[in-house]
C-alpha cells in the first residue's frame, strides 16, 4: 500500500542559462546546482525508502540534451533500491523523433509514459494506479478530453493523475481545466510546468522547479512529499502534501532608489547595503536603479565596481532617469541649436536608442558645461 510519494519535475537538466556576465561560468555552476538537486532527490528517496517518485515533465531542458546527461539520469534511477519512478514528458523534453528518452536504456524501476493520450500504469505492490499523458510534440492547444473522459477509476486503488500543463492557461502549453481534472475523483493530481510550487485543495499540486532558474523564480523551491493515510475499511485515502526545500543559490531582485544628491560612491554604498555580505556572496542579484541621477554621474562601469562584492550581480539602469528637466530645456531653447538638438533627439523612433541618445547627449552637454 502506498504510504508516501515524491512529486517533482521541471528540473530542466542540461539547461543553458543566460547571464549578462561570464555566462558559461555561472551557467556551468547553475547546471551543477541542478544536478545536485536531482541527486539530492534520489538520495532522499533512497534514504527515506520512498516507494514512488513521480516526475511531471521537463526533466530535461531540451530534446537536444546531451546523451551523457540522459545516461546519468538513468544510472541515478538505477541506484534507487525501493523506489518506482514514473515519468511524463513535458514541452521541453517531449517524446518526439528526437526524444532524449531514446538515448538511454532505462532501469526496470522506471516507467515512462510515451503517448499523448491518457494511459495508466498499475503498481500492484503499492495498490496504486497512475494515469498520465506525455508530450510528444512541443505544443498542445487543447486538452485530450476524450481520452481523459475514458478513464475509469477503481475505488479500491490509490489513483494519481500526472499532467504537464497550465491550469487556466489558454496558450499552447496544454490548457488545463482544474474542475474537469478534479471531477474524476483522483486521490492526487500532480502537475508540472509552472515553476513556482503550489498546492491547492483537492490534493492538486504543482511541484515547481526544484531550484529557481531565473530572476522570476523567487521563494522556496524543492520537491513535494505526499503522505497517505489509508482507511482500509472504507478504502478511503487521506493525502497531505509538504514542500521539502532544496538548498540552492537564490535569485534576488532589489530596487534601489537614487536621488540626484547621490554621488557615485553613495550609489555603490546603497547597492551594497541591499543585503548582507554573506547573502551577496551567495545569491544572484539583479539591482534595479530607479529614480533620478545626477547627469554628471556615469554608470558605465558600475557593474565592474560591484562585481567583487557579489557572487553575481547585474545592474539595470533602464528605469533611471537623468535629473534634467528636458521640458524646461526645450521650452527655453525652442529657437536655438540646443532646442533643435533636443527635439531631434526626441524624434528618434527606437525608444531604446532614443533614451540612450538623450542620456549620452546630456552627459556630453554636462561635460561641455552646458548644463552645469
Amino acid at each position: 500500500m502506498l504510504t508516501t510519494f515524491i512529486h517533482t519535475g521541471d528540473f530542466h537538466l542540461g539547461r543553458p542559462f543566460t547571464f549578462k556576465q561570464q555566462g558559461n561560468y555561472y551557467g556551468k555552476n547553475k547546471r551543477k546546482e541542478l544536478w545536485a538537486a536531482f541527486e539530492f532527490t534520489i538520495q532522499f528517496a533512497n534514504e527515506m525508502k520512498i516507494p514512488l517518485l513521480l516526475i511531471t515533465g521537463d526533466l530535461f531542458d531540451s530534446v537536444n540534451v546531451l546523451s551523457m546527461d540522459v545516461k546519468r539520469v538513468a544510472e541515478a534511477f538505477g541506484t534507487l533500491t525501493e523506489t518506482q519512478v514514473v515519468i511524463i514528458t513535458g514541452n521541453h523534453d517531449y517524446h518526439g523523433d528526437n526524444s532524449p528518452y531514446n538515448k538511454a536504456v532505462w532501469p526496470k524501476n522506471v516507467y515512462i509514459f510515451k503517448k499523448d493520450t491518457f494511459r495508466s500504469v498499475y503498481i500492484e505492490g503499492l495498490n496504486t494506479e497512475i494515469f498520465g499523458m506525455s508530450w510528444v510534440k512541443n505544443e498542445y492547444r487543447e486538452f485530450p478530453e476524450r481520452s481523459f473522459n475514458a478513464i475509469k477509476l477503481q475505488d479500491t486503488r490509490y489513483n494519481i493523475l500526472m499532467v504537464h500543463g497550465e491550469v487556466g492557461g489558454q496558450g499552447s502549453y496544454l490548457p488545463l481545466d482544474l474542475k474537469l481534472l478534479e471531477s474524476k475523483g483522483f486521490n492526487a493530481i500532480v502537475l508540472g510546468h509552472i515553476h513556482k510550487p503550489g498546492m491547492a485543495p483537492g490534493n492538486v499540486a504543482y511541484c515547481g522547479s526544484p531550484v529557481p532558474l531565473n530572476f522570476g523564480e523567487t521563494g522556496d523551491h524543492g520537491f513535494l512529499v505526499s503522505r497517505i493515510k489509508t482507511d482500509y475499511e472504507n478504502y478511503q485515502f487521506h493525502t497531505t502534501n509538504g514542500l521539502n526545500p532544496i538548498a540552492s543559490r537564490g535569485y534576488q531582485k532589489r530596487d534601489i532608489p537614487i536621488t540626484p544628491e547621490h554621488s557615485y560612491n553613495d550609489i555603490i554604498e546603497k547597492v551594497l547595503n541591499c543585503d548582507t555580505k554573506e547573502n551577496r556572496r551567495q545569491d544572484f542579484y539583479r539591482i534595479c536603479l530607479t529614480g533620478f541621477i545626477d547627469p554628471e554621474i556615469q554608470l558605465d562601469w558600475i557593474n565592474e565596481d560591484l562585481e567583487d562584492e557579489f557572487y553575481y550581480v547585474e545592474t539595470d539602469t533602464s528605469q533611471l532617469e537623468l535629473e534634467i528637466d528636458i521640458e524646461q530645456l526645450l521650452a527655453e531653447n525652442q529657437n536655438n541649436e540646443l532646442g533643435q538638438f533636443l527635439k531631434a533627439l526626441e524624434n528618434i523612433v527606437d525608444p531604446e536608442v532614443r533614451k540612450k541618445a538623450m542620456i549620452y547627449s546630456i552627459e556630453a552637454m554636462v561635460g561641455e558645461g552646458v548644463l552645469r
Partner: protein, 769 residues
C-alpha cells in the same frame, strides 16, 4: 548694468569683505591667493547661486563646495548693482538648506523679489532673467575666467565654444562640436567591430570564434546523440537476445560465476593446503633418514628375536610339560605300588605259583554252559516280546487267526524265557557256595588269607591285577627315564637359544637407539611420516603447479579445465559479440567526437553573454550615431547661418591685438583658423603660440560681448598672463574703449596693466585686494 558693491559676509576666504566698484574700467589687483577668482565667483554666485541648471531637483554645483567657508555657519553676501537707473541690492544666503535670495530696491529698501522670474526647482527668483542671462551664457560670454596655464587645446576649445555661442542670436551656450567630440569619444570607447582591441571588437571577434565552436560542437554532439540512439537500440537488441536466451544465459552466467567462484575457492583451498603442507614438511624434515629398508632390517631382527623367543618359550613349555609328565608318572607309580598292598612283585609271583600248584582250577565247562544258557534265555524273551508286540499293534498284514497264533506264541516264548532265567540264577548261586567251602583247606587258604581273598578266583584276579600293575610300573619307569633324557636335551637347547637371543637383542636395541626410537613400531611410524613428507612435498609441488594454472585461469578468464570461461557462448553469441563490439566502437567514436569540442550548452551561454554585451554596445553606438547625425545636421545649418561680418569683427579685433593676424574663420569641421597675412593662408589655431591663442580667445570674447550688446559688466580674470607687452597694451586699449560703453572688471596679479593704462591715458579705478 554696473556693479557698485560686493559685500562678502562669508564667502570662500573672505569674511565681511566689501569691494566698491565704479563704472568704467575697474582693475582689481591682488597677489596670488589674494582671492581674485573668489571675488569673480562671488559675482556669479550672487546673480545665479551655485546650482546646476536644468535639473528637476535643486542640485548644488561644484562651486558650492569650493567656496564654502571653513566655519560653514555663514555662507552669504550682498551685491548692489545699478540697472536702468535703479539700484538693486541682492542678499543671498548660499548655505545648503537655508539658501535664499532676497532682492531689494536699494533706494527704497523695498523687497522687490517677487517682481523677478521664479525658478521652481531652486525655489528662488532670478535677477537676470529679464536679460535672458543664464549661468551658461554668463560664463561663456561676459565672464572670462582664468584659463588653465598648461592647456594647449583649451583656448582652441573655448574659441570654438565662443564662436558657436556667438552664432546664436540669443547667445545660447550650446557647444555642438564639444558635444559631438564627447559622443565620438564615447563611441570610440565602445569601439567598432573592426577594432580587435576595443570592447565591442573583442566581443564580436570572440563571438565569431564561439559561433564556429558552437557549430562544431553541435555537429559533434548531434553525431554523438545519433550514435547514442544507435547504442541504445543495440543495447535493447542485446537485451532482447538475452531475454530470448534467458534461461541459458542465466544458467551460463551463473555457471560462469560459479566456475569462477569455484576457481577462486580452489585457489584459496590450495593456498591454504600448501601453507599447511609447508608447515608439516618443515616439522617432519628430520624424519627423512627413516627408511623402509631399514625398517625391514629392523623388523627382520625383531622377527628373529621373536622366533628365538618363541622357540625358547616352546622349549620351556615342553620342559614344563615333561616335568609335569614325569611328575604324573611318579604319582602313578606310587599309586600302582599301593595296589600291591606293600608286597613286592617277586613275592606275589612266588605265592601265586605256590597257590596254583596246590589248587585245581574250577569247572570251566559248567561255567561256559551256564553262560550259553543265559544268552539263549535272553534271546527267547526278546523274540517273544517282539512277536507279541507286533501282533498287538496290527502292523503285520496277516490273517486274524494267524495273528492270534503268533501272539500266543510270543507270549509263551516270553514266559518260558523268564522262568528259565529264574531257574539258572538259583543254580549258579548254589555252585558258588560249594567252591568256597573247598578253598578253605591247606596252603591255599593261607595264601588266600595273606592276600585277604576269600576264594581262589579272587586271588587269581588279585594276581592278574597285580601282574597288570607291575607291567604298568615297569612301563612307567621306562617312560620316566625317557622323559628325563628329553628334559636334559631341552634344557641344553634352551640355553643355546637364550644366548643367541641376548646377542641379537643387544644389537637391535643399539640400532633403535641410533634413530632415537624405543621400538620398531615407532620407527615404522617415523618411516610412515617420512614417506608422508615426501608425499607432501610432491603434493605441495603439484599444488603449486595447479595454482599457477588457476592464477592463469582467473587472470585470463579461463576455467579450471583450461577452457575459456566465455567459451560457453550462448545462442546468438556472435550477434551479441558483434553488437557489443559495435557499441564499444560507437562509444569510442563518441569519446573522440567529444574531445576537443566545447559543450554547445556552455558555448551558447558564452554567446548569450557576448550577444547581450554586443547588443548593448550596438545600442550605445546607435544612440551615439543618432545623436551625432543630428549634431552634424545642426552644425551644417549653423555653419551656413554663420555671420561672416562677425568673423570680420573678431578678425579686426584680433588684428588690432596682434598687429599681425587679420582674419578668423571657422571651417565646416568647426576648426578655428586664422589668416596669416604673410602667406595669405589660413592657419589652424592649434599651430599658434599659447599667447596668441589667448589673444584669439580674448578677441572672440570681446567680439561676442561687443556684438551681444547685453547690458552686463565684462569681467576678466588674469587674461593677459601670456601676452607680450605690445599685445597687452592693445588689449587694454580695447578694454578701455569697451569701458566707455560697459563696466569692465579686470582681475590681475600684476601692476603692469595700470602703467599701460596710464600711458594710454585710459581712466580706470584701481582696487587692491
Amino acid at each position: 548694468m554696473k556693479i557698485k558693491t560686493l559685500t562678502m559676509n562669508a564667502f570662500g576666504k573672505f569674511k565681511n569683505k566689501t569691494i566698491a566698484l565704479e563704472p568704467g574700467l575697474n582693475i582689481i589687483q591682488g597677489n596670488n591667493e589674494a582671492g581674485k577668482t573668489t571675488a569673480q565667483a562671488f559675482i556669479q554666485g550672487m546673480y545665479f547661486g551655485f546650482y546646476k541648471p536644468y535639473r528637476k531637483k535643486k542640485t548644488y554645483g561644484l562651486e558650492y563646495e569650493k567656496y564654502l567657508p571653513w566655519e560653514q555657519l555663514n555662507y552669504s553676501g550682498a551685491l548692489i548693482y545699478e540697472v536702468n537707473g535703479r539700484e538693486i541690492r541682492l542678499e543671498r544666503n548660499f548655505l545648503r538648506g537655508k539658501d535664499s535670495l532676497i532682492i531689494y530696491d536699494n533706494t527704497t529698501g523695498e523687497d522687490i523679489t517677487e517682481g523677478f522670474q521664479y525658478d521652481g526647482v531652486i525655489r528662488q527668483h532670478l535677477p537676470l532673467a529679464e536679460l535672458d542671462m543664464t549661468p551658461g551664457i554668463y560664463n561663456s560670454t561676459v565672464n572670462i575666467r582664468q584659463l588653465p596655464v598648461e592647456i594647449e587645446p583649451g583656448p582652441q576649445e573655448e574659441i570654438r565654444e565662443c564662436y558657436l555661442k556667438m552664432q546664436r542670436s540669443d547667445g545660447n551656450d550650446m557647444n555642438l562640436k564639444g558635444i559631438a567630440r564627447r559622443l565620438e569619444e564615447k563611441k570610440k570607447n565602445i569601439g567598432r567591430s573592426g577594432q580587435s582591441k576595443s570592447k565591442v571588437g573583442l566581443a564580436i571577434r570572440k563571438r565569431d570564434d564561439l559561433l564556429i565552436a558552437l557549430k562544431e560542437g553541435e555537429e559533434a554532439y548531434a553525431k554523438v546523440a545519433l550514435n547514442q540512439e544507435t547504442i541504445v537500440r543495440y543495447q535493447k537488441r542485446m537485451e532482447k537476445i538475452e531475454t530470448e536466451n534467458d534461461f541459458f544465459v542465466q544458467e551460463t552466467a551463473v555457471n560462469h560465476k560459479r566456475e569462477l567462484l569455484q576457481t577462486y575457492e580452489k585457489i584459496t583451498e590450495l593456498e591454504k593446503e600448501n601453507t599447511q603442507l609447508a608447515e608439516n614438511i618443515k616439522g617432519w624434515e628430520k624424519l627423512q633418514c627413516f627408511t623402509y629398508d631399514k625398517l625391514e632390517g629392523l623388523k627382520a631382527i625383531e622377527n628373529q628375536i621373536e622366533r628365538l623367543t618363541d622357540q625358547m618359550n616352546y622349549i620351556e613349555k615342553e620342559m614344563n610339560d615333561l616335568e609335569f609328565h614325569l611328575k604324573s608318572i611318579r604319582q602313578k607309580e606310587e599309586s600302582k605300588r599301593l595296589c600291591l598292598n606293600g608286597k613286592n612283585w617277586e613275592s606275589i609271583c612266588e605265592d601265586y605259583e605256590t597257590f596254583i600248584e596246590n589248587k585245581a582250577s574250577p569247572d570251566e565247562a559248567n561255567k561256559k554252559s551256564t553262560r550259553s544258557l543265559g544268552v539263549l534265555l535272553a534271546g527267547l524273551i526278546l523274540v517273544g516280546i517282539g512277536l507279541a508286540g507286533t501282533m498287538m499293534n496290527g502292523s503285520c498284514q496277516v490273517s486274524e487267526s494267524l495273528g492270534n497264533v503268533f501272539l500266543t506264541l510270543g507270549i509263551a516264548m516270553t514266559l518260558v524265557g523268564v522262568i528259565g532265567a529264574g531257574l539258572l540264577a538259583v543254580t549258579i548261586s548254589k555252585s558258588r557256595k560249594e567252591q568256597k567251602i573247598r578253598a578253605n583247606n591247606g596252603v591255599s587258604e593261607s595264601i588266600l588269607e595273606k592276600y585277604e581273598t576269600d576264594t581262589q578266583e579272587d586271588f587269581i584276579n588279585y594276581f592278574k591285577k597285580a601282574s597288570r600293575s607291575q607291567k604298568e610300573l615297569e612301563q612307567m619307569k621306562n617312560e620316566g627315564e625317557l622323559l628325563s633324557v628329553q628334559q636334559s636335551r631341552r634344557q641344553a637347547g634352551f640355553e643355546v637359544l637364550f644366548e643367541q637371543r641376548r646377542g641379537i637383542l643387544k644389537d637391535f636395541k643399539t640400532q633403535l637407539a641410533k634413530f632415537g626410537v624405543p621400538s620398531v613400531e615407532v620407527y615404522a611410524k617415523g618411516c610412515k611420516k617420512s614417506q608422508q613428507t615426501e608425499e607432501m612435498k610432491l603434493h605441495f609441488n603439484t599444488n603449486l603447479r595447479l595454482l599457477e594454472g588457476l592464477y592463469e585461469t582467473v587472470n585470463a578468464g579461463k576455467i579450471a579445465g583450461g577452457n575459456s570461461l566465455w567459451d560457453k557462448a550462448p545462442p546468438q553469441a556472435e550477434e551479441l559479440l558483434k553488437l557489443g563490439k559495435e557499441i564499444a566502437r560507437l562509444e569510442g567514436e563518441n569519446n573522440t567526437l567529444m574531445e576537443g569540442v566545447s559543450l554547445p550548452v556552455e558555448t551558447t551561454e558564452a554567446l548569450k553573454t557576448l550577444n547581450s554585451q554586443i547588443d548593448a554596445c550596438d545600442l550605445e553606438i546607435r544612440a551615439c550615431d543618432a545623436a551625432l547625425e543630428i549634431l552634424e545636421k545642426i552644425q551644417k545649418e549653423s555653419h551656413q547661418d554663420s555671420a561672416p561680418e562677425l568673423n570680420q569683427h573678431i578678425g579686426a579685433i584680433l588684428g588690432e591685438l596682434t598687429q599681425h593676424y587679420q582674419g578668423v574663420k571657422i571651417d565646416e569641421t568647426m576648426k578655428v583658423k586664422v589668416v596669416d597675412p604673410l602667406v595669405g593662408n589660413f592657419r589652424d589655431a592649434e599651430q599658434l603660440s599659447a599667447g596668441t591663442m589667448d589673444q584669439v580667445h580674448f578677441a572672440f570674447r570681446y567680439g561676442i560681448s561687443d556684438v551681444l550688446n547685453r547690458d552686463m559688466p565684462f569681467i576678466l580674470d588674469e587674461p593677459f598672463a601670456r601676452y607680450d607687452h605690445q599685445r597687452k597694451t592693445q588689449a587694454l586699449k580695447l578694454l578701455g574703449e569697451l569701458s566707455q560703453r560697459e563696466q569692465v572688471i579686470l582681475f590681475t596679479c600684476g601692476d603692469g596693466e595700470g602703467q599701460i593704462l596710464d600711458a594710454l591715458g585710459v581712466a580706470y579705478h584701481s582696487i587692491q585686494l
